[in-house]
């Protein structure tokens, strides 16, 4: 029998328990501590110990040090000077990461959904009981439907531990919304052109660029640390910044050229830029003739796409289009048309990313100093365990032959595979969700609700009572990154580096590190042989010794650089290879042609807002990461709710006042649960409104975030699926204002 899954509010449980460690704010605010700190540091007595970590507040993963005083309390987190992701400077979220640890709303004990006299509720459980329950259910589901029918939704560090468990269990259905809800299309667009995707951190050589072009990418509000730092360096060096955005973003305000484009018309601009570069002979001829294929087809294709043609679509003056194209060409090859990060906009996003890739190729910037560098990374061997069983099917099989270019699993399609339908050839019955708050992450809430109702098992692993926990059968409290080991960070960069995350303190409450939870669950599932160690430090030490370091050494230094002689740029002697069908940069894509897609990017007009509606644009604030940080006491102090940016002309039409609270209603009649504050500003076009993503939490257990601001994702009911890879285009939603009966204060 499938039970209806009621949303259970964690706060209703009166969960509590006193924090194992007394709240820090009290102890920290006293004058005594201030004086003591001053005195001690003035006497030169350092009483702080430091432990290496890398940040988990976003996924830039800056390495730093957690400082702990002699009472065992975390006092601050400071960047590691040797780390190229942060150069010793964490961003506000990383600095405020301390609040993630001290947040008294954290999940404290395992919870199991039970049917009581007053309906469904959670009961507190021991770890043993909770994991027994999960293991039993997983075995039942595997018996009925095969182990493949359990999927893992994840984001961030816990993913690797649970991914290992799931693969050992026999499923490869492992998915992160960061692909199909975020950067997937650009990976496809670049792969179809250069044979490889962009990856993260992006190998954009902003540090040395002479011209940085941002298209809807708002570095500075999007706080990916290394990029923000390098953009600042670029400003110092007088590099040209060109920003294309319907909003006068922070980056736009730092730019030599701001192109206030009409939303949804970026493709027309990109094609017009190609036209100018080619027909004014400004492209990198040598580079193109040496490395590229399909130039003649491209030249013919873009012939009609003059700046005058684009003017009628984008509202950008032909002069401005020409001038900016010339500016890029003058900087070539030290020029970056930034691939962006959150690029799931209109459903033709892979093709728009292709256009960006082609422009970079025309400018010769791929593999060039000040363009895109060739990445280096230190390979870290996996700890040896038995080989994983081979699953009978995988996420690819759920696509029924569609979306052939999806290289990673697509979250929305795995949700579809969970909703009972005669179209489903392969079905999902159980989810483990680790570190991703799907209700505020995924568009199309109705689908998500249907999936929740159909699921036989939903296990949620998180540090906070995020909305997703309300739908869970079992909630498992994970320790924060400051209290646990995780995998070594060995991301790509200009140099090869490895960074260690080690616990600075014991886990608070009854929370446990993901590695521990995965291992215990593995043992209960009879998969103990995949976890032939007791503590994750053994795995890390083994891995580090394979690459000539050790846990002991890394505890001292946190970050280690490994020599890697591979050249970074073509001009340093790197002979590039392009793993495309032709072995060249494919201006004309044979693979796309093979699958029946446009081999050269084409402009398609997207729907425009109906009268009285405005395009909903959403983005980032530098103090918050998605919906993850909305309850962090330190970060809430910097920004506690989102505001709705409205152009003064629109405001006067609707008689809106600055600071007034309004709700938003979209084209399908869906209204936001909570109201948001109007911010009247010239910085937004009159055909659009803007809010920062990640607010409008409705889980009362998030006492600081509850009811603060509006959730953009509630309004995203119109989803345009990218036919190449299944991504969810989310910028085709239009909203209007609901002004009456709005409470200005959130009930507390």
């Amino acid at each position: 029998m499938k039970t209806r899954r009621d949303f259970i509010k964690i706060s209703a449980l009166g969960l509590g328990g006193v924090a194992a460690v007394a709240g820090m704010s009290k102890m920290m605010t006293g004058q005594k501590v201030v004086d003591e700190f001053l005195k001690l540091s003035q006497e030169g007595k350092s009483f702080l110990k430091r432990y290496p970590t890398y940040c988990e507040v976003c996924f830039w993963k800056c390495a730093g040090w957690t400082y702990v005083d002699d009472a065992g309390k975390i006092v601050k987190i400071i960047g590691n000077d040797d780390d190229p992701h942060c150069n010793g400077r964490l961003c506000p979220r990383g600095t405020g990461g301390i609040g993630m640890y001290y947040d008294e709303d954290r999940l404290k004990k395992p919870l199991i959904r039970v049917e009581g006299s007053e309906g469904q509720t959670f009961k507190e459980a021991s770890w043993d009981e909770a994991l027994d329950y999960v293991a039993k259910k997983m075995k039942e589901i595997a018996q009925k439907h095969g182990p493949e029918s359990i999927a893992l939704f994840n984001h961030g560090s816990p993913g690797h531990h649970f991914g290992h468990l799931l693969k050992a269990f026999g499923s490869s259905n492992i998915v992160a919304p960061s692909y199909a809800q975020c950067r997937g299309p650009r990976e496809v667009g670049f792969e179809m052109t250069f044979g490889v995707g962009v990856g993260a951190p992006e190998p954009t050589d902003i540090r040395d660029t002479r011209c940085l072009v941002l298209i809807g990418s708002h570095i500075g509000e999007n706080m990916h640390n290394g990029q923000v730092q390098e953009m600042s360096d670029a400003i110092d060096r007088g590099a040209t910044i060109i920003t294309v955005d319907p909003r006068f973003s922070t980056a736009a305000s730092k730019s030599k050229f701001w192109l206030p484009i009409k939303p949804a018309t970026d493709m027309a601009l990109l094609l017009a830029w190609m036209h100018v570069l080619i027909y004014e002979n400004l492209y990198d001829r040598d580079y193109i003739s040496k490395y590229a294929d399909g130039f003649d087809e491209l030249k013919e294709h873009v012939r009609p796409f003059t700046p005058e043609w684009a003017y009628g679509i984008t509202t950008l003056s032909p002069d401005l289009i020409r001038q900016t194209a010339r500016e890029m060409a003058a900087a070539s090859p030290s020029v970056i048309i930034h691939p962006g990060r959150h690029v799931t906009w209109y459903g033709d996003d892979s093709q728009r990313s292709r256009a960006i890739a082609i422009l970079n190729a025309l400018l010769g910037s791929w593999g060039r100093r000040g363009g895109f560098y060739f990445k280096r990374a230190q390979n870290v061997p996996e700890y040896p365990t038995e080989e994983y069983p081979k699953p009978a099917w995988s996420w690819k099989d759920t696509h029924n032959g569609k979306y052939p270019l999806a290289r990673l699993s697509v979250a929305n399609l795995l949700i579809d595979a969970t909703i009972p339908s005669p179209d489903n050839t392969h079905e999902i019955y159980g989810w483990i969700v680790a570190g991703t708050n799907l209700p505020l992450t995924m568009p199309d809430k109705q689908k998500l609700k249907k999936a929740f109702e159909a699921l036989e098992l939903l296990v949620v692993v998180d540090t906070m009572p995020m909305e997703i926990t309300g739908y869970a059968d079992v909630v498992l409290p994970e320790s924060t990154y400051l209290e646990r080991y995780d995998d070594l960070r060995n991301e790509t960069h200009r140099e090869a580096f490895v960074a260690l995350r080690a616990p600075a303190v014991e886990p608070m409450y009854e929370s446990k590190p993901a590695w521990w939870i995965a291992r215990e669950l593995g043992i209960k599932l009879g998969l103990g042989r995949y976890f032939p160690w007791k503590d994750y430090s053994e795995v890390l030490d083994w891995q580090l010794k394979q690459i000539g370091s050790s846990l002991e050494e890394m505890m001292e230094i946190g970050v280690k650089k490994f020599p890697n002689p591979a050249p970074l740029y073509i001009e340093d002697g790197h002979e590039p290879t392009f793993p495309t069908p032709t072995g060249k940069i494919e201006l004309y894509s044979h693979e796309l042609e093979h699958y029946g897609f446009d081999p050269l990017p084409v402009y398609t007009a997207h729907p425009e807002p109906p009268e009285g509606f405005y395009r909903l644009i959403y983005g980032r604030a530098p103090m918050h990461t998605f919906s993850r940080t909305a309850n962090n006491p330190n970060l809430v102090d910097l920004m506690k709710e989102n505001a709705l940016w409205v152009n003064p002309r629109v405001a006067s039409l609707w008689n809106l006042k600055n600071g007034q609270y309004v709700k938003l209603k979209n084209q399908d009649g869906v209204e936001t649960r909570f109201a948001t504050k109007v911010r009247i500003t010239e910085r937004i076009r009159w055909d659009s409104v803007y809010i920062v993503h990640g607010f409008g939490h409705h889980e009362k257990g998030l006492t600081r975030a509850y009811g603060r601001g509006a959730s953009d994702s509630e309004l995203i009911t119109n989803v345009q699926i990218d036919p190449l890879m299944g991504g969810t285009g989310m910028r085709g939603n239009f909203v209007t204002f609901v002004i009456d009966n709005i409470k200005t204060e959130v009930e507390s």
């Binding site: 400077r89 953009m231 103090m623 102090d637």
Partner: protein, 177 residues
């Protein structure tokens, strides 16, 4: 010796890292701050200008706050740094009224608090917490009397302004334009 700061408005992105780093470093209670970020926009779409800057006490040369303090709690430290001796402060708030920059706040423990230029760090040769954390490296701190200090170098070839110079307080934070 004259400590001062220069802040490059062309680079500051308003991320507020300087604010949270200060709060954590100086145990500023949540809900209060010693530094803050201001954004001002002028013009009409699409001809716009936005200036973003991080503000704090200007450590004025001619400080009304020090002059009006009845107990001597507000005083000059080495290098012209204006600080408040917490245990001498009676919380009367005269200084808060006198400051043209709203740079002081009443601490819940009953005294007035403000930016100290992180004196406890400066005496150890470190930079203020905000300066050392700023991801855009847009803040420069040092001794104006030392021509090679970060702040002297930063203002040498750039136009800059101070806030509300008409107040006559001789502020020592320079905003690079």
């Amino acid at each position: 010796m004259r400590y001062a700061m220069a802040i490059d408005t062309r680079k500051c992105v308003g991320c507020s890292d300087c604010v949270v780093a200060c709060q954590v470093e100086n145990n500023v209670p949540i809900g209060y701050c010693r530094d803050w970020v201001v954004e001002s926009t002028s013009g009409t779409y699409p001809v716009l200008q936005t200036e973003i800057r991080s503000e704090r006490c200007n450590h004025c040369d001619n400080s009304p706050c020090v002059r009006c303090c009845p107990t001597g709690a507000s005083h000059f430290e080495q290098g012209g740094i204006v600080t408040v001796t917490h245990h001498k402060c009676i919380g009367c708030g005269a200084c808060i009224q006198s400051c043209p920059y709203d740079a002081r706040y009443s601490h819940p423990d009953g005294y007035v608090d403000k930016c100290t230029f992180c004196l406890h760090r400066v005496v150890e040769g470190l930079k203020p917490a905000c300066v050392s954390v700023c991801p855009t490296k847009c803040m420069y701190f040092g001794d104006l009397e030392d021509p090679n200090s970060d702040v002297s170098v930063a203002i040498r070839h750039r136009n800059y302004k101070t806030l509300a110079p008409e107040a006559g307080t001789k502020p020592q934070i320079f905003y690079l334009l």
